[in-house]
Symmetry: C2
Subunit: 335 residues, 2 copies
Amino acid sequence: MSKKVLISDPTLRDGNHAIAHKLTPEQVAKYAKAAEAAKVPIVEVGHGNGIGASSFQVGLAVAADYDLLKAARDNLSDSKLGIHSIPGFSTIKRDIQNAIDVGVDVFRIACHCTEADITEKHIGYLREKGKTVHGVLMMSHMASPEVLAEEAAKMELYGAEAVVFMDSAGAYLPQDVSERVAKLVSNLRIPVGFHGHNNLGMAVANTVAAVESGASIVDGTVRGFGAGAGNTQLEVLVAVLEKLGYDTGIDLYRILDAADLAEKEFIPVVPFVSSTSVVSGLSGVFSGFIKHVNRVALEFGVDPRDVFFELGKRKAVAGQEDMIVEVAVALSRKK
Amino acid sequence: MSKKVLISDPTLRDGNHAIAHKLTPEQVAKYAKAAEAAKVPIVEVGHGNGIGASSFQVGLAVAADYDLLKAARDNLSDSKLGIHSIPGFSTIKRDIQNAIDVGVDVFRIACHCTEADITEKHIGYLREKGKTVHGVLMMSHMASPEVLAEEAAKMELYGAEAVVFMDSAGAYLPQDVSERVAKLVSNLRIPVGFHGHNNLGMAVANTVAAVESGASIVDGTVRGFGAGAGNTQLEVLVAVLEKLGYDTGIDLYRILDAADLAEKEFIPVVPFVSSTSVVSGLSGVFSGFIKHVNRVALEFGVDPRDVFFELGKRKAVAGQEDMIVEVAVALSRKK
């Protein structure tokens, strides 16, 4: 009997990053129908940064969370409906309750890789309500495998029924993923998951490495639709896992159809590895910094790529855009 | 001391497939200059199917081989000028002599993976002239590792100074590549090379696997510019090999610049893994069949993907387009 792998598909959530959160309920409905036909186990829906995140700062969504979730809910029956939720962007009273009301099945409570503490209340609340909850550690390359395992253990303690770690900057090579999966699997009693990005062209290979090292939940989006260089390409992952003898439960022809539909309906440009993506992956810095970095680098007469690598050394994360000027000044003085 | 890897860049040859062989001498000159600045060791130029291949059957090139090669030659000094040449498409008298006259440095003599015999005269002729010659085995997934090693040994016997095997349909996973490289390395005295395609999203991972298994020559094109799902993406490969401690001699920033220039000058759409690419990679059938397959499948009321998989079982190769109708008829009878 072949080993089972649970696939979660955040096309309608991570993909929202690629189009400035402009997915409409109509598009969500169409794709959800196609994903249901392909027997995708979990369909994740919402603003790129999760429910409650729509704002001037990280991007205003075209549609309200409720309308997007409702459009998916009405078209999913065997496939489960999932959300991504970062406490702070989301609140229990407003957003989590809203998601419960609309009938979400799988709640993914996410945070920066070293801040599991902020997920405790949300995970606890949802578990009390009898909901399925997974913990998510983002930008995981910024923590050592040991720290990552400690943070994951906290989430398990809070009641998470699985922990997924994300390669948000696409910084890993397969051996990096294997090492972390092995560490988490040996430290936790609950299933371990992996979510990849393609900055170094390794998203599919990294995801396969995760599965081969013991991860039992992996994420993928059709055509890799997602932030920056994109995610692990779901229809390719399904093909490769099938070729390797794993059982994803997903129908290959139908997921190829779903990918074709998504491309036609809401993917204006299929994600690819741009030069910026490579530098982002190598430096481990969020590619969303690129516009600021280019502007500041030009102003101070330094190479934007040097700025990225220096930001990487200083472990800059989203929200620390002010560090860009600091780095550019320092680099221009060195010259 | 880090291990050296020799990179050959067929952006201006395999990329020609993606734009129906429409590269102009001006575009070639611009890219060659950028590749020279990036210290790319070998820049391969020409019609997608190699010198002498321009024809109604496989596609008429916009520019003559001589003009493309001359444009590159005039802009390369430290970087070497390479060609791809398939005996039959090319003749010694006309095309090989032409390439010698224009000053080509590296001659790659290529054939289907089981037909090394047809390269004997061309390899011998060039070696007599004192030229650098590599043998190339295309569609290598159609031969067993043992047969591939035998064919490679023939090329070595004819005088080839390296043998490169190509994953023309993008059908391999890393372990497939490792197995073949190990087999070739242990059977030959000359260096072994690998040329990947991205149908299963594995081109970079496969190429890294080749290097880690002992290949010392690998191919990559900027933005993966090439046939179907595209090639191993060169600027990503350089970044990943550097991260792993290999020495490619290529300047990372300058190859990123070359990639940006190529995208601007002659890449209308960056290659991506389409649904057809996945089916092509899984079935091991050349993706160029897609138009015929779609037409015939519609006519006989069968699924074009079933046609691909059946063609794969029958080991169809380019030139055997008549087999498509045969397969469609057989499938429609089964229904």
